[in-house]
C-alpha cells in the first residue's frame, strides 16, 4: 500500500544568475495527495516543468514506478501516464470545447469515440461539459473542467495540479475538491502545487516544502499545523495585517459615474452603468471572477482604452474620463495592471529602464527630452532597497526576476511617488506569501497616509484582508458597495456567481 510512485533524486536546475532547483529529493507515495508548498520563486514551477518534460534538469534522476524517467516533452510525459493541469489555461479561446479536447490528445481519435469517452468521464466524475461551447464563453471554473477532462482522457496515474484554485470562486473550489477526492478513490496520485496553507491542510496527505530552490522538509501532514508550515515555507514569522477605518476622511476624491462601454465582440465584456465613489484614505475592493469586465474597467480607470466611453470619471473635481495614462499620472494617479511582463514592465529592458515607463511630475528623469540615466538609476536603487526586491542589480533585465520580485519592483515604482490615488489590479497574483504580505502591508500603510486605493482582485482573502468597502463585478455590472466588515465571504461568493444582481 505504501509504495512509492515517484522518486525524485537530487534534481538541480540552473538558469543564468539563479539556481532555481538545488538538489531536490523526495518521494511521492501512491494514491496520496502530495502537496508541493512554497512561495513563488521558491522553485515550484521550475520543478514541475522538469517533471513534465518542459525543462531538462542539469543533474539528478526521477524514477516513476521504479523505472528511470527520461522524458523530453509533455507528450512523452502523458504517454507515461503523467498529466498536468496548468495554472494558466492552455486552451484555444476561439475554438469549441470539442476542438480543444481533440487537439489536446496525442493519439488519433474520431469525434464519436471522443464523445463516448468524454460522456463517460463527465458522468463518472460529475464534470458536465457542453462540447459545442466556444471556450471564450466559459467561466474560469468551466475552463478548468475542460483541462481536467482533457487530462483524464489520457488516464493518468499521476496528476499534477498547478495552483488550481487561484481563479475559482469559493463554490467552484469546493466542487474541484470533490473531483480530486474521486480521483484519489480510484487509486490515482495527485501532486498539488500551491502556496495556500489552508488547502494543504484540508486536502493533502503529505507535504514537501520548497524554499529558495531547496527542499526544507518533506513529511506527513499529521505532524504539521498551519503555523509550522508557514514558518517553514517563509523562514520567518509573519506579522498579522490589520486594517481600520479611523483614518478614512469624509471627502470623496474619486467618482465613477454611469460608466458604460460597448465592444461588439465576443472577447470583451461590455460595461454597463458602473458607478462608485472612493473616499480619501479608503481602500475600495472590486471582487469578481475573471472575465466579467475587470480588464475593461481597468483600461477605463487607467486611460489605456477609453474609446466610445459613456459616463464620467472625476478625480478631485477634474473630469478625467478621456485623459491618457500620462495625463492621469500628472494628477498623481498611479496604476498597477494585472500583467507584469509586457504591461507594467517591459521584460527586455533593465529595471532602471523600466522606471522610465511610468513618469510622474517632477521626478527629474528628463531634461529637454533627454533621458537622465543617473537619476533613473538612483531611483531604481531606491525602489530595490525600500521594497526588498531581490535582484543582482538594477541593470538586470526585468524578465530575469521572479514574479514576486518584479511585482514588488513595479508596485514600489508606483508607491514611491506617493500617489493620491492608486489603481491596482490583482496585486498579489501568482506571487509568494512573503511578497504578498509585504505588498498588502504597504498598501494599507499607503491608505493610512491619505491615498485612495482601488483594488481589483479575484482573491477574496486578499480583499477581505485589506479593503474597507467591497463591490462585485459580474457580467459588466457592478454591485452596490458594502463595508467589508459587514459581509461574509459566502455572500460575496454568491454575488460573484451572479446571484443578487438586480
Amino acid at each position: 500500500m505504501d509504495s512509492t510512485i515517484l522518486k525524485i533524486d537530487n534534481i538541480s536546475k540552473s538558469f543564468p544568475r539563479v539556481k532555481a532547483n538545488k538538489n531536490i529529493s523526495f518521494n511521492i507515495k501512491r494514491n496520496t495527495v502530495h502537496a508541493l508548498l512554497g512561495e513563488n520563486g521558491a522553485g515550484k514551477s521550475t520543478f514541475v516543468k522538469v517533471l513534465y518534460g518542459l525543462l531538462k534538469p542539469d543533474e539528478g534522476f526521477m524514477y516513476f514506478n521504479d523505472n528511470l524517467l527520461n522524458i523530453q516533452s509533455p507528450s512523452e510525459a502523458r504517454q507515461k501516464k503523467i498529466g498536468m493541469v496548468f495554472q494558466h489555461f492552455s486552451l484555444f479561446d476561439s475554438l469549441t470545447v470539442r476542438e480543444n479536447l481533440i487537439l489536446g490528445i496525442d493519439q488519433d481519435m474520431s469525434f464519436s469515440d471522443l464523445q463516448k469517452k468524454v460522456n463517460n468521464i463527465s458522468e463518472k466524475y460529475q464534470l458536465p461539459l457542453d462540447l459545442d461551447a466556444p471556450i471564450n464563453t466559459l467561466s474560469a471554473g468551466q475552463k478548468q473542467r475542460v483541462e481536467i477532462v482533457r487530462i483524464l482522457l489520457q488516464d493518468p496515474e499521476l496528476l499534477i495540479m498547478d495552483e488550481p484554485t487561484s481563479v475559482l470562486t469559493p463554490q467552484e473550489v469546493k466542487s474541484l475538491f470533490k473531483t480530486l477526492d474521486k480521483l484519489l478513490k480510484e487509486g490515482r496520485t495527485i501532486l498539488y502545487i500551491t502556496h495556500k496553507l489552508e488547502e494543504v491542510i484540508n486536502l493533502c496527505d503529505e507535504v514537501t516544502i520548497l524554499r529558495d530552490g531547496a527542499v526544507i522538509d518533506s513529511s506527513k501532514l499529521e505532524n504539521e499545523t498551519a503555523e509550522s508550515l508557514a514558518t517553514k515555507m517563509l523562514g520567518k514569522k509573519l506579522s498579522e495585517i490589520k486594517t481600520d477605518y479611523d483614518h478614512i476622511k469624509d471627502s470623496i476624491n474619486f467618482k465613477a459615474h454611469n460608466l458604460a462601454q460597448n465592444f461588439n465582440n465576443p472577447f470583451n465584456t461590455d460595461l454597463k452603468n458602473i458607478s462608485f465613489e472612493v473616499k480619501e484614505g479608503e481602500i475600495f475592493g472590486i471582487a469578481g471572477i475573471a472575465g466579467n469586465g475587470q480588464s475593461e474597467l481597468m483600461n477605463l480607470l487607467t486611460g489605456e482604452n477609453v474609446d466610445d466611453v459613456d459616463g464620467s470619471i472625476t478625480f478631485n473635481n477634474t473630469e478625467i474620463t478621456n485623459f491618457n495614462p500620462k495625463k492621469r499620472r500628472d494628477l498623481s494617479i498611479a496604476f498597477v495592471p494585472e500583467n507584469r511582463l509586457g504591461h507594467s514592465a517591459v521584460p527586455e529592458l533593465t529595471l532602471a529602464e523600466n522606471v522610465l515607463l511610468s513618469q510622474f511630475p517632477n521626478n527629474g528623469f528628463l531634461k529637454n527630452g533627454m533621458i537622465n540615466y543617473k537619476n533613473i538609476e538612483i531611483q531604481a536603487k531606491k525602489i530595490v532597497d525600500e521594497f526588498n526586491v531581490v535582484t543582482p542589480g538594477v541593470d538586470a533585465k526585468a524578465s530575469s526576476l521572479s514574479g514576486g520580485n518584479l511585482q514588488k519592483f513595479v508596485i514600489g515604482r508606483e508607491l514611491i511617488s506617493m500617489p493620491k490615488l492608486l489603481i491596482i489590479s490583482h496585486p498579489t497574483w501568482g506571487i509568494d506569501a512573503g511578497a504578498e504580505h509585504t505588498i498588502r502591508k504597504s498598501l494599507i500603510e499607503l491608505a493610512k497616509n491619505g491615498t485612495s486605493i482601488i483594488v481589483i482582485s479575484q482573491d477574496l482573502d486578499e480583499l477581505f484582508e485589506i479593503s474597507h468597502r467591497i463591490s462585485v463585478i459580474f457580467n459588466g455590472n457592478l454591485s452596490k458597495s458594502v463595508d467589508t466588515a459587514k459581509i461574509s465571504i459566502a455572500e460575496i461568493g454568491l454575488l460573484m456567481g451572479g446571484k443578487g444582481f438586480v
Binding site: F15, P16, L55, T302, G303, E304, N305, N324, P325, K326, K327, R328, R329, F335, P337, N339, G342, H343, S344, A345, V346, P347, E348, L349, E353, L356, L357, S358, Q359, L366, G369, M370, I371
Partner: protein
C-alpha cells in the same frame, strides 16, 4: 498530420555570442555559396571572388565608388530602423526616395540658372519634405483605417515611380534634350560639392554621417528613442506608459521618409545632376537588407552599407571581366538576407527531428 516534418523549438537560453555573430556568419555563408555558384558556372572561385570583392576596391577610385554607393544605402537604412524598431514594416523607401528626388530635384530645375549658396540646402529640404510627405501616407492610412503598412508603402513605390516617369517625359522634359526622357541639368549651385577632385564621393556622405550620429543619439539618449524601443518590444506597455501610439507611427514614418528623400536628392544632385527614369538601382529596397544586416544599429548599419555597396560594384566588375550579368549582385544581396534570417532563426530556435512513433 505532418508528423514527418522536423519541428522548431524555442531555445531556452539563446547564446548571446551567436546572436552577435549572426551578420558575420551570414556574410561568410554568402561568400561560400557565392563561390559554389561561380564554380558551377565554370569560373575559378578564387578568381571570381577576387573580381567580385577585392578588385573593385583595390584603388582610390574604387574606394570612392564604394562610398558613393554606401552613402544612400546607409542613410535610408538608418531611417528605416526607426520604423523597424517600432515594428512598422516600411517597405516603401524606394518611393520615398523617388519623391524626395522629385521635390528636391524640382527645386534644382527651377533654379537651374540661379547662383547661390542657398540653392542646395533648399533642395535638401525639399528632398526631406518630399520623402517625409510620401512616408506620411502609409502612416495616415494605418492610423485612420488600420491598413497594413507593408502593402500601402509598397504600392506607393510604384505610384512615385510613375509620377517621376510622367514628369521626365512630360512637363519637366529638357527642352533641348532631343526628346530623351530626362530633365535639364541642375546649375552648379544645385550640385553636391565633391570632396576630392577626380573622385565622385560627394558631400552626401557627410549628411549620411550626420544622420547616423543623430539617429544614434536619438535611440540611446532621448525619450523619443525610448518610446520607440518600448513600443517595439511591447505595445501594451507603451500604452500603459501613456505614449501616443499614433504620434510614434507618424514620427517613425516621417524620419524614415525624410532620410530616404534626402538620399534620393543626394543621388540626383550628386553623381547624376538631373532627373531621369532610373535614378536609383533599388537603393530603397536594398537598404532594408542593410538595416537588418546592421541589426538596426547605427554603427552596424555603416558596416552593412559598405558590404552591400560592394555587391553593387562587384556585380559591375563581374559583368566587365567575367561577362556574367550584373544581376548576380542581386543574387548576393538575396543570399545575405536569406542567411541572415536563417541564422537569426537558428539562434533562437533549434530544429528537432521527430522520431517515428
Amino acid at each position: 498530420m505532418f508528423n514527418f516534418l522536423p519541428e522548431l523549438k524555442v531555445r531556452e537560453n539563446p547564446s548571446s555570442i551567436m546572436n552577435f555573430s549572426v551578420p558575420v556568419v551570414a556574410v561568410f555563408l554568402t561568400i561560400v555559396t557565392g563561390s559554389l555558384i561561380f564554380a558551377m558556372m565554370g569560373f575559378d572561385p578564387i578568381f571570381a571572388l577576387h573580381t567580385f570583392f577585392i578588385s573593385p576596391i583595390s584603388n582610390t577610385y574604387g574606394i570612392s565608388e564604394l562610398l558613393v554607393k554606401a552613402t544612400p544605402l546607409a542613410l535610408i537604412a538608418v531611417g528605416l530602423s526607426f520604423c523597424f524598431k517600432n515594428n512598422l514594416y516600411n517597405i516603401g523607401a524606394e518611393g520615398q526616395l523617388t519623391m524626395g528626388a522629385v521635390i528636391g530635384g524640382g527645386i534644382g530645375i527651377y533654379f537651374h540658372d540661379t547662383q547661390g549658396f542657398w540653392v542646395l540646402p533648399l533642395m535638401i529640404c525639399g528632398g526631406a519634405i518630399g520623402g517625409a510627405l510620401w512616408g506620411m501616407i502609409p502612416a495616415f492610412l494605418k492610423i485612420k483605417f488600420n491598413t497594413n503598412e507593408i502593402l500601402t508603402s509598397l504600392m506607393l513605390v510604384y505610384i512615385a515611380l510613375l509620377i517621376l516617369d510622367y514628369l521626365v517625359v512630360g512637363p519637366w522634359k529638357d527642352p533641348n534634350g532631343f526628346s530623351f526622357p530626362k530633365t535639364r541639368k541642375f546649375g552648379d549651385s544645385g550640385r553636391m560639392p565633391l570632396l576630392f577632385s577626380g573622385l565622385r564621393v560627394h558631400f552626401g556622405i557627410i549628411i549620411t554621417l550626420i544622420g547616423i550620429f543623430a539617429s544614434w543619439f536619438i535611440f540611446s539618449k532621448t525619450m523619443l528613442g525610448y518610446q520607440l524601443k518600448v513600443t517595439g518590444f511591447s505595445p501594451v506597455a507603451s500604452r500603459y506608459a501613456g505614449f501616443s501610439q499614433d504620434k510614434l507611427v507618424y514620427i517613425a514614418f516621417i524620419i524614415a521618409g525624410a532620410f530616404a528623400g534626402i538620399a534620393g536628392l543626394g543621388e540626383v544632385s550628386g553623381p547624376i545632376g538631373l532627373l531621369y527614369r532610373d535614378i536609383s538601382p533599388n537603393y530603397g529596397f536594398t537598404a532594408i537588407i542593410v538595416a537588418f544586416l546592421g541589426r538596426l544599429h547605427p554603427i552596424g548599419i555603416i558596416f552593412a552599407s559598405l558590404i552591400i555597396a560592394l555587391t553593387y560594384l562587384g556585380a559591375e566588375d563581374a559583368q566587365l571581366f567575367m561577362q556574367i550579368p550584373a544581376a548576380v549582385g542581386f543574387v548576393f544581396q538575396g543570399l545575405v538576407l536569406f542567411y541572415l534570417l536563417g541564422a537569426e532563426l537558428l539562434v533562437n530556435y533549434k530544429i528537432v527531428l521527430r522520431k517515428r512513433v
